[in-house]
Amino acid sequence: MAADPTRRRVLAASALMLTAAGTAGCASGQAWPWARPPVPVPEVGMLRNVIAAEDTLVSTYTAVLSARPALAATVSPLLRQHQQHLAQLRDRLMVPAGARPSPTKTARARQAPVPAGRAAVLAYLRHAETDQAAFLVHTLAAVVTPSLAQLMASISASEAAHAALLDSAGSPR
């Protein structure tokens, strides 16, 4: 994963981590009890992938919301929770000194168009949630930092619940 130059940059950055970690909680305006320790070097690449996937999900929701404003009551609360997921994941990422914090462009480029019809949109979101929940469970098995694994499991549980909610919103009452 980490080529030597990256590794060196990360190690160079580690001296700054203590100070950065001390202020990270205040930056977002809210102290979260579990969001403190920065991830170790081997997990940076993994965490970037998870962040990119979560960012794609936020983009998907944003696109749905702008294409189908009538679904706001169902979709907006879920989007807000994904934004919270993304913020927490980003909080755990210590960007190596000199690196550009950027990986989201490719993720956005892959985005599929929003399907037509309420049921189709809800199914589209449900699939996106299910995929992301499964991806997180698959990925967290190899995570070294226990608190990061727990954050990912919690996000995965939230997304599995989103899928269930979208499923019941899509079925006739």
Partner: protein, 157 residues
């Protein structure tokens, strides 16, 4: 929960302790759903029964995992103190949410141990509990099982 303390223990003991925590939460849920079911009717009662069975099945799985690790599963208590009075269907639904939150938090401890198998098992169980809580609550939360970022008292639909 006692996750932080448990994390410091060596691998197998930490896994066993987290499994016992999850088992205790499942036993409390089995008891609690028995109470909740008595105040529910129709579709809600059917849901409570189905979820009660899921918790019994999870209890059996956890007991099996503990025995396979040479550890005796701790027995259930004869009864459990309810967090609030339950006399109506709405309170029964609130109790169900409370129980699922407890189960989710317990499995979060399992995710915190180093064993990849237990971790995946715990994460899947968290998903199941979050889905059940959502069906009672009618809405989702951002961080199921996490130490309360915002203390939201369980509410019935």
């Amino acid at each position: 929960m006692t996750t932080a303390g448990r994390r410091a223990r060596p691998g197998k003991a930490a896994g066993n302790a987290a499994l016992q925590d999850a088992l205790a939460a499942e036993n409390a849920a089995i008891f609690g759903y028995g109470v909740a079911g008595a105040y529910l009717t129709g579709r809600q009662r059917a849901t409570a029964t189905a979820y009660w069975n899921e918790h019994r099945s999870a209890r059996d799985t956890l007991s099996g995992l503990l025995r396979a690790r040479g550890e005796q599963p701790a027995p259930a208590a004869a009864s459990y103190k309810l967090p609030f009075g339950v006399h109506t269907a709405a309170e029964a639904a609130s109790l169900a949410i409370f129980l699922e939150n407890g189960v989710t938090a317990a499995y979060l401890g399992l995710v915190g141990v180093g064993d990849a198998g237990l971790r995946t098992f715990g994460a899947r169980a968290m998903q199941a509990a979050a889905i059940r809580a959502t069906s009672w609550r009618g809405s989702t939360v951002a961080f199921p099982g996490m130490p309360t970022a915002r203390p939201s008292p369980p509410r019935a639909r």
